[in-house]
């Protein structure tokens, strides 16, 4: 027997990090069956060393683990740990249940008074205590759909570029930059939007459109003001591009390489092969699109700053509008009467239900595609 010291606690902990990195890189480079088996033998040994060191440290009395190794205590430890984990999960359950309950119960006053008329009424008049949410529903849906229409072609183009065209270095940098778009706080988008983008859109897009088509097409009726549905749509488009892009990219990566190879073997060009990949990934891409829509529907700060906040339905996209999230953000702290507060919370309830349905549909679509083809996907 040699006298080499066995692994110390600290060394063992460092060692225990190693397998994790190996696993991740392994999985990323397309984990094949054989590689994994060989690999797990190594991790087995490391895990053994780690625990041996713990036990030895415990015997020599240098570790707090000593007291916990005992049979009875370990059973208590297991139970306490399990209970904590369950408790944390119950917190999630309770939060969602609580949100639903609170929103429904706090909006009772308004639900009882207006009923379904709340959704169709187009008067929002806190002075007369007359509340109808139609202008907000209209503004939310139209600005989100317009933002989606602007973001969609760009996002799919970016995803195709990242997956099919770019080399690894370009892909790393471009991915990072697009993801940075997602990391910019909403309020910063808003500040940039209201001081830089809105004047630009008013001068360079809104005014020429209103001048040329304002008379004939009600969609572009002037006068073009700065904060408008159009401005909101543009800022929403910028904000949801990273979401649609990353989902589309993941779904395209999940389409097996053999699909592309088959297309190339038949003599197709790269673009023709990409079309086949996109066609196969269509449900997942649709899921990404709907997920982007869900994000756009609930977006608050950036939209509040650029949409103009006017509770009237106007057919022109160059006129100000209002969204459900914005009206809550602007008026919640000003709501003086119980009915006013209740009506605002009911707007929140409508928003919650809308985003919930939209998000669930999206998750289901993405899941249905990635579940099938994880195995043969491109790396």
């Amino acid at each position: 027997m040699n006298n080499k010291p066995l692994l110390t606690d600290g060394m063992a902990l460092i060692l225990s990090y190693t397998p994790y990195y190996a696993i991740v890189t392994h999985c990323l480079s397309g984990c094949a069956g054989n590689g994994c088996t060989v690999f797990s033998q190594r991790t087995f040994i490391i895990a053994g060393q780690l625990l041996m060191s713990d036990i030895i440290a415990a015997r020599s009395g240098t570790s707090s683990v000593r007291t916990l190794i005992g049979e009875a205590q370990s059973r208590i430890g297991d139970r306490v740990f399990y209970a904590l984990c369950v408790l944390a999960s119950v917190v999630i359950l309770a939060t969602i249940a609580g949100i639903l309950f609170q929103l429904v119960s706090s909006s009772q006053l308004s639900i009882a008074k207006f009923g379904f008329g709340f959704l169709t009424g187009s008067t929002w008049d806190p002075v007369m205590e007359e509340y109808g949410a139609r202008p907000f529903i209209y503004g939310t849906v139209v600005s989100s759909l317009m933002g989606l229409a602007l973001a969609l072609p760009l996002s799919i183009g970016i995803a195709v570029f990242l997956v099919e065209v770019a080399g690894l270095n370009v892909r790393t940098i471009a991915s990072f930059l697009v993801e940075t778009l997602a990391a910019i706080p909403s309020v910063v988008y808003g500040v940039w939007g209201v001081f830089v983008m809105v004047p630009f859109i008013q001068e360079k897009v809104g005014m020429p459109l209103a001048e040329k088509f304002g008379e004939s097409i009600p969609l572009f009726a002037g006068p073009a003001v700065g904060p408008s549905l159009l401005s909101a749509a543009v800022i929403l488009a910028i904000m949801i591009i990273p979401i649609i892009t990353s989902i589309t990219r993941d779904v395209m990566l999940a389409i097996p390489m053999s699909q592309r190879e088959a297309a190339f073997a038949l003599g197709s060009t790269k673009w023709e092969a990409i079309k086949i990949v996109i066609a196969n990934a269509r449900w997942g891409i649709l899921g990404g699109i709907i997920l982007g829509l869900g994000r756009a529907l609930g977006e608050t700060m950036a939209v509040t700053l650029v949409i103009g906040n006017s509770p009237y339905i106007n057919s022109s996209i160059l006129q100000p509008s209002y969204t459900m999230a914005s009206v809550i953000a602007n008026e919640f702290t000003e709501a003086t009467s119980d009915m006013y507060l209740s009506a605002l919370i009911e707007v929140g309830l409508v928003l919650l239900i809308t985003t919930f349905v939209v998000n669930m549909l999206a998750r289901f679509l993405v899941w249905s595609v990635t579940r099938r083809s994880i195995a043969g996907g491109r790396q």
Partner: protein, 290 residues
């Protein structure tokens, strides 16, 4: 025969041209998407730098009309609220992730997984309303606690999902090795499984923190705002995002300048945090999640 060849040649040429055009458009769309990013960065830095000075970090906001002043209280407020939110959100997120990865097989786990998805899609303003009804209303006033609870709710689903996914990547043999050596399950989970995935979990945690640091909507009617140093955690407290919003909607030019400066500080905070996280996750090399 010859004619057929010419036709197919021209059609090949046409297909090749379409190929180049479409691939070119894809590259163009990357450029188009990066223009707003560049513009936002450019303007934030350009407008922000002029209003940014030492006073900004050390002084309270000045009343309208008086030049100068800073957002020291808002910066401290943001750090306080985010710190408190992490104290609630991180343990709950990690433990529920552990539950889903290590114990979660039955109906309850399926429900929790589903609810985590629901939670990550919640509009942040809805969380604000919820916390208003359960914390602000019973307490009778806006507070830092309420702000922290709302941000915690927003960070939990991210951490839960990251933890679950990373723990599932840890091979089963590691757990078996630990159990075979006689260690109780909770020791195996905390000392072997979690520490094997620790770096990834920390990365996810930092990204979640970076995300909530910029959240505005849920703070509007939970932490509210405060022009002065806050008088305690049960009192309204200023935060950087809310302060930026307040200044941006106000009609005064020097407040707009302050809003830009605040935006610069906020964006730098978030940006530095996310670059640091990527470098740490890549073991000293800059990486992007693929």
């Amino acid at each position: 025969m010859e004619r057929r060849i010419t036709i197919s040649k021209s059609s090949i040429a046409r297909r090749k041209i379409i190929n180049h055009i479409m691939l070119g458009l894809c590259a163009l769309s990357v450029v188009l998407a990066l223009i707003p990013l560049a513009l936002i960065m450019f303007y934030t830095v350009k407008e922000g730098i002029s209003a940014l000075n030492w006073d900004f970090f050390t002084h309270l906001p000045k009343p309208v009309g008086e030049p100068g002043g800073g957002m020291a209280n808002a910066i401290v407020g943001t750090l306080t609220i985010v710190g408190m939110a992490s104290l609630i959100g991180v343990p709950v997120g990690i433990l529920s992730g552990v539950y889903l990865a290590e114990f979660g097989k039955g109906m309850f786990a399926t429900v929790i997984r589903f609810l985590t998805e629901v939670m990550s899609g919640l509009p942040s303003i809805i969380v604000g309303i919820f916390v208003y009804t359960i914390v602000v209303k019973p307490m009778g006033h806006f507070s830092a606690y309420a702000g922290a609870v709302s941000l915690a709710i927003l960070m939990i689903p991210t951490i839960t999902k990251t933890t679950e996914e990373l723990l599932k990547l840890v091979p089963q043999t590691l757990r078996e090795a630990g159990l075979a050596l006689g260690a109780p399950k909770w020791i195996v989970t905390t000392r072997v499984v979690i520490s094997a995935a620790a770096k990834g979990i920390i990365t996810g945690m930092m990204l979640a923190i970076a995300r909530i640091a910029g959240e505005t909507a849920p703070l509007l009617f939970t932490a509210l705002n405060n022009r002065f140093w806050h008088q305690g955690l049960d009192q309204p407290v200023a935060s950087l995002p809310v302060q930026i919003f307040t200044y941006a909607v106000a009609p005064y030019d020097d407040w707009h300048a302050q809003a830009w400066a605040g935006a610069t500080v906020l964006i730098m905070m978030v940006f530095i945090l996310s670059v640091v996280v990527r470098v740490v996750a890549g073991g000293g090399k800059f990486t992007v999640q693929q």
